[in-house]
């Protein structure tokens, strides 16, 4: 079981879980706390969290280039993001780890994304039995 937590520092209850992200140029995982977003179809890395991947946010955005562009539709708007190959590492209680290769979308290094948590969407969540219970403070992901 992978155990997360409810973060209240942002002004509301935000279910989060620690996720390790690797890239081809940074094979050691950078561990970040991602928002478990059951309304998101895809996972998204915010610029603040991209700092840990050994590349500056603007350089990362340029490296991915226009060919990696992906359009997504948050509530009320449509935005352009970029897709990046990555590895995911999630640690179970007891030490076992789940690791796999996939992709993650990357947000542009723009102020409107500052301070927002990276997002774990259904492209990742579909691999788990997800349980959220705010009253008990439980965020749990069990392998299927």
């Amino acid at each position: 079981m992978i155990r997360g937590y409810f973060d209240q520092t942002g002004g509301s209850l935000e279910p989060k879980v620690q996720v390790g992200i690797t890239t081809p140029w940074h094979p050691l995982p950078c561990f970040i706390d991602c928002l478990v977003d059951t309304g998101a179809g895809v996972s998204l890395l915010m610029p603040e969290d991209a700092l840990g991947l050994g590349i500056q946010a603007e350089a990362l955005w340029r490296r991915l280039g226009p060919s990696a562009e992906v359009r997504v539709r948050p509530v009320g708007v449509s935005v352009s993001l970029r897709r990046m190959s990555c590895g995911y590492h999630l640690a179970h209680e007891g030490g076992a780890r789940e690791e796999w290769s996939s992709t993650i979308l990357v947000a542009p290094p723009e102020p409107e994304y500052y301070g927002l948590p990276s997002i774990l969407g259904w492209d990742v969540l579909r691999r788990f039995d997800l349980r959220l219970n705010a009253a008990l403070g439980l965020v749990m992901l069990d392998s299927l």
């Binding site: 520092t9 620690q18 561990f31 700092l51 603007e58």
Partner: protein, 83 residues
Amino acid sequence: MPANVEAAVEAARRRALDERAFWQRQYPDYLKRYPGQFVVVKGSEFLAAVPDLKALEALLAKWGLSRPDVMVRYMREPLPLLL
């Protein structure tokens, strides 16, 4: 996974947990002092607050620092998220 890599991954994971604990304790205080800025901390020592990512990256490059040598967090106005 080789044992040395395994140890490095576990160390990185624990460092991230320590960082979470630090911000859970310190975020309200830093938010009061530096709203709308990136706060840079090394160990528990405040290093700087800068307004944008470009300034942050320039500062870290100037000091020869990067994550995870330092902790960085943007002091976001505490409003509920609607993503």
